[in-house]
């Protein structure tokens, strides 16, 4: 037994190969020799085909006669819709039994002697190759492309320009991004309203430990655009003011322990809505980025690279929470043109 790997690679086919002993003697099946077994196999195939037909009838019966709101109890699976089950099982068994019948027929009754085909070499014969080369060379010589440089260049000019229109025609697929990714609906004085419900929120409505899903208030009877809903949602969280560990500028953007963050994850744009009241962490369920609310939604775990943008909030003269200014940075995932410094 060779153990040294470097020697193993030297062993090659110089040593004599074992000779091909030829196929093993053919073993006949029961149905090949015993007529009773043959009849039995025939019957089995026939039963399978018949079951297939009966299953199709089950499908038709379920479609026409079984109401769509009937539920029956199946062990392990619980209450199942009888109509669906009848359609589905009818279709499934009609197909399965047909297939099984065909295969059983092939396996037990059809001739199973193996046949040999021979492979031919793929490489074309040398004569064919030479002929091809001669044909192409001849045609090229007749066209005299090498000498017709004016034609060559003008053809190149025409075909080259064909590449541009297909790209150009796709220009109106969408607008240019411009500054759209950098603005939201939030402006100075915009009220925060509940989502859903659209009710304005008093600062006193929130208890410590509460979180509220909010959107910017819109005028009566105005529909929100989904492209706005993809950037506008804001989370309102109330902590005790002493829980914050923020810089003075960030602290000034809170109001009496209430802090507001964009709900759109800075990683890939999912809604970061999971708030853990005791740890004061926000968790995004898509990729498990975790943000620490006490430190301004700083990322403490996961693939997000930037904290959630904080919204500057205060109360208006009626006590309702409002934005004091729009977001100071683009919300949502990063992009090339984003100035993230």
């Amino acid at each position: 037994m060779v153990n040294n790997e470097s020697e193993m690679s030297d062993v090659s086919n110089e040593l004599e190969q074992l000779q091909d002993p030829g196929a093993a003697p053919h073993v006949l099946r029961h149905a090949d020799t015993d007529p009773k077994a043959e009849k039995r196999a025939e019957r089995q195939v026939a039963i399978l085909f018949t079951l297939s037909g009966l299953s199709s009838l089950l499908l038709i019966y379920s479609y026409v006669f079984v109401a769509t709101d009937v539920f029956i109890f199946i062990p392990v699976m619980g209450d199942q819709n009888a109509h669906q089950l009848g359609l589905g099982l009818g279709m499934a068994f009609s197909l399965l039994f047909l297939g099984m019948g065909a295969i059983h027929w092939a396996k037990t009754l059809m001739p199973e002697t193996e046949v040999v085909n021979y492979r031919h070499e793929f490489r074309s014969s040398d004569e064919d190759r030479d002929e091809l080369v001669k044909t192409v060379k001849h045609a090229a010589a007749e066209v005299k492309l090498g000498r017709r440089s004016l034609i060559k260049r003008s053809l190149g000019f025409s075909l080259g320009l064909f590449a541009l229109p297909p790209v150009l025609l796709l220009r109106d697929l969408g607008p240019l991004p411009k500054k759209l990714l950098e603005t939201t609906s939030w402006k100075a004085g915009t009220r925060l309203v509940t989502d859903p419900g659209n009710r304005p929120i008093l600062a006193s409505d929130l208890e410590v430990g509460a979180v509220v899903q909010t959107l910017p208030a819109v005028a009566e009877d105005t529909e929100r655009l989904l492209s706005d809903v993809a950037k506008d949602p804001v989370l309102l969280i109330r902590l005790r003011p002493e829980d914050f560990q923020l810089t003075p500028e960030k602290l000034a953007m809170t109001h009496d322990g209430i802090i507001a963050f964009s709900k759109i994850c800075s990683h890939m744009g999912c809604a970061v809505a999971l708030y853990e009241q005791q740890t004061k962490h926000l968790l995004c369920p898509c990729h498990q980025s975790t943000f620490d609310v006490t430190r301004g939604a700083k990322v403490i775990f996961g693939p997000a690279a930037r904290p959630l943008p904080q919204l500057d909030i205060t109360v208006d003269d009626q006590g309702y929470l409002i934005a004091r200014a729009p977001f100071s940075e683009p919300v949502g995932p990063s992009f090339w043109e984003r100035n993230s410094q």
């Binding site: 074992l18 279709m91 295969i103 199973e112 193996e114 369920p285 693939p303 690279a305 090339w336």
Partner: protein
């Protein structure tokens, strides 16, 4: 001649007088396909594709691919009066109000999942048996192309109903596109028709999903299968099988019956799953709005490894000169898959470069006889599995009472540690199996019967294996490694010396194997 035969003859004559295909049809009907269960995985792909076409056509007759808002007024109470897109509402109608609609939706989605699973299984079979070698490299590349098309088609397919789960997936897709430097925002705006979610995106992916991509599939699958037809299928080594022949059953009648029957079986199993197992219950997810999300949001299984890679990525971004580069998105979602797919597509050429083997191969390898390739394959599977498991880390955490943070750290470390470990273990396993084969050939099968010799010694009786089995275990090739000298005959250093050194190293590793039993070895044994 019976009337049936006469009628058939007339019909055949009608066609033949116009096309003259008798010669070709005769040849085709006698074509032979070797019989092994692992050769049927490609068939599962093809048949599930047909099922996708049929069920998809049914669904397209009722589906409304529009993002315009409607107020739901159908039979499903928990969503009555809720604003949603017409796409979501029409999917609800298909599920609740069209008889057979929910069944067809489930058949379509189960078929898609099984289609992708079969492609992966088929790819692994072709890889581990070396069926991608010359002359089949181009077919391998077409296969990788089909895999890629499948990813995209599946993503678009499950995003069409515009439910909360798939809408979240589209949000992530737009973030990936947006992260591309320089052109990301433009490509995203053009694809979505504006800011996410856009209003024209759903109709656009509908056209791609039912027209352009299935068209591409049909074209590529046709070439893929025609190449198999023309180049003839590979076969496992065995008695009577050589590089110059194919042994199997002819198309008419056996192969047709078995393959045809298998189509109905594949359809039947998919239909059975659709009858008893619920998939994609969109009415529970709710309509998509970007402000909502569900715990445990995952894409369909074949995208799961990408999700897992994104989750375990470290939070790397570069902020410089007023621009942002998101490495935490680009590396796991663009760069790594790019390397994986390109590497897969080029692998036949990489391997032939390593072995220097430029011959045609029609006999398959048993995986244990190519330990290096098999180990590489298992290493890749391990990599994908770690990523896949991490993609479901919150589901595992919830159901098995684990911590997502711990699973994440486990995945971050395992993705680097486990694949090389799997490589080493697999290679050793292959060599052990080769040793076991060698023992089997030389000493025969252990029967477990003990016999006492006259001398008092106890010995176990070994039964010799059949000649056919012995041939199978020794007919594989063991090519020597490539060698390159760094200098030529006069001692001048060859150009490309480093490339050759790398190649020689890789070739040596690839050629590691136990020497197989030769005829001389057997003669020696006989003297025992």
């Amino acid at each position: 001649m019976t009337t049936a035969e006469q009628r058939l003859g007339n019909a055949a004559n009608f066609v033949d007088e116009r096309i003259g295909a008798a010669g070709w049809v005769k040849k085709s009907l006698n074509k032979v396909f070797p019989d092994h269960w692992s050769f049927m995985l490609g068939e599962v792909c093809m048949y599930s594709f047909v099922i996708l076409l049929l069920s998809g056509t049914f669904l397209a007759l009722w589906f409304d691919p529009s993002q315009r808002d409607v107020i739901y007024d159908g039979v499903y109470e928990p969503l009555k009066g809720i604003k949603m897109s017409a796409a979501y509402a029409s999917t609800l109608d298909i599920s609740f109000e069209i008889r057979g609609g929910l069944l067809m939706r489930q058949i379509h989605h189960w078929a898609a999942n099984i289609f992708m699973a079969a492609i992966v299984a088929h790819l692994l079979r072709v890889f581990f048996t070396g069926a991608f070698r010359k002359p089949r490299e181009f077919n391998w590349i077409l296969g990788i192309l089909l895999l890629t098309l499948g990813f995209v088609e599946g993503l678009f397919g499950y995003s069409l109903p515009d439910d909360l789960l798939s809408g979240t997936g589209l949000r992530i897709t737009s973030a990936i596109i947006q992260a591309i430097p320089l052109v990301g925002t433009y490509v995203s705006f053009f694809l979505f028709g504006g800011e996410f979610p856009g209003v024209g995106f759903l109709p656009r992916i509908f056209t791609l999903h039912i027209l352009l991509i299935p068209g591409a599939f049909l074209a590529v699958i046709t070439v893929h299968v025609m190449l198999v037809w023309y180049q003839k299928h590979t076969q496992f080594p065995g008695p009577g099988r050589t590089e110059k022949n194919v042994v199997g059953h002819p198309i008419l009648p056996v192969y047709m019956a078995k393959a045809g029957g298998f189509f109905f079986i594949v359809f039947g199993i998919i239909a059975f799953l659709s009858a008893v197992a619920s998939i994609n219950p969109i009415w529970l997810y709710g309509p998509y709005t970007p402000g909502q999300i569900s715990a445990g949001s995952q894409p369909d299984w074949y995208m799961g490894w990408l999700d897992g890679l994104v989750r375990m990525s470290p939070p790397l971004e570069t902020h410089a000169f007023g621009h942002t580069i998101s490495w935490n998105i680009m590396i796991p979602a663009l760069i790594v898959p790019g390397i994986v797919f390109t590497g897969m597509a080029l692998y036949p050429f990489i391997e032939s470069w390593i072995t220097g083997d430029k011959r045609e191969h029609h006999l398959l390898d048993r995986p244990r006889n190519v330990p290096n390739r098999t180990a590489l394959g298992v290493m890749s599977i391990t990599f994908v599995m770690v990523a896949l498991i991490n993609g479901g880390n919150d589901i595992f955490a919830t159901n098995f009472h684990l911590s997502i943070n711990e699973i994440m750290w486990f995945s971050r470390i395992s993705i680097f540690v486990l694949p090389p470990l799997a490589f080493v273990i697999t290679k050793r396993l292959c060599l052990s199996l080769q040793r076991a084969d060698r023992d089997l050939v030389l000493h025969g099968l252990e029967t477990g019967r003990l016999v006492r010799m006259p001398s008092g010694e106890f010995v176990e009786v070994h039964a010799p294996i059949s000649d056919q089995k012995r041939f199978i275990l020794t007919s594989h090739e063991q090519a020597p490694a490539l060698e390159f000298s760094a200098t030529d005959a006069r001692g001048v250093k060859r150009p490309g010396a480093i490339k050759n050194k790398v190649r020689a190293r890789l070739s040596k590793a690839h050629a590691v194997g136990l020497p197989k039993v030769s005829a001389e070895d057997l003669k020696e044994i006989e003297h025992h």
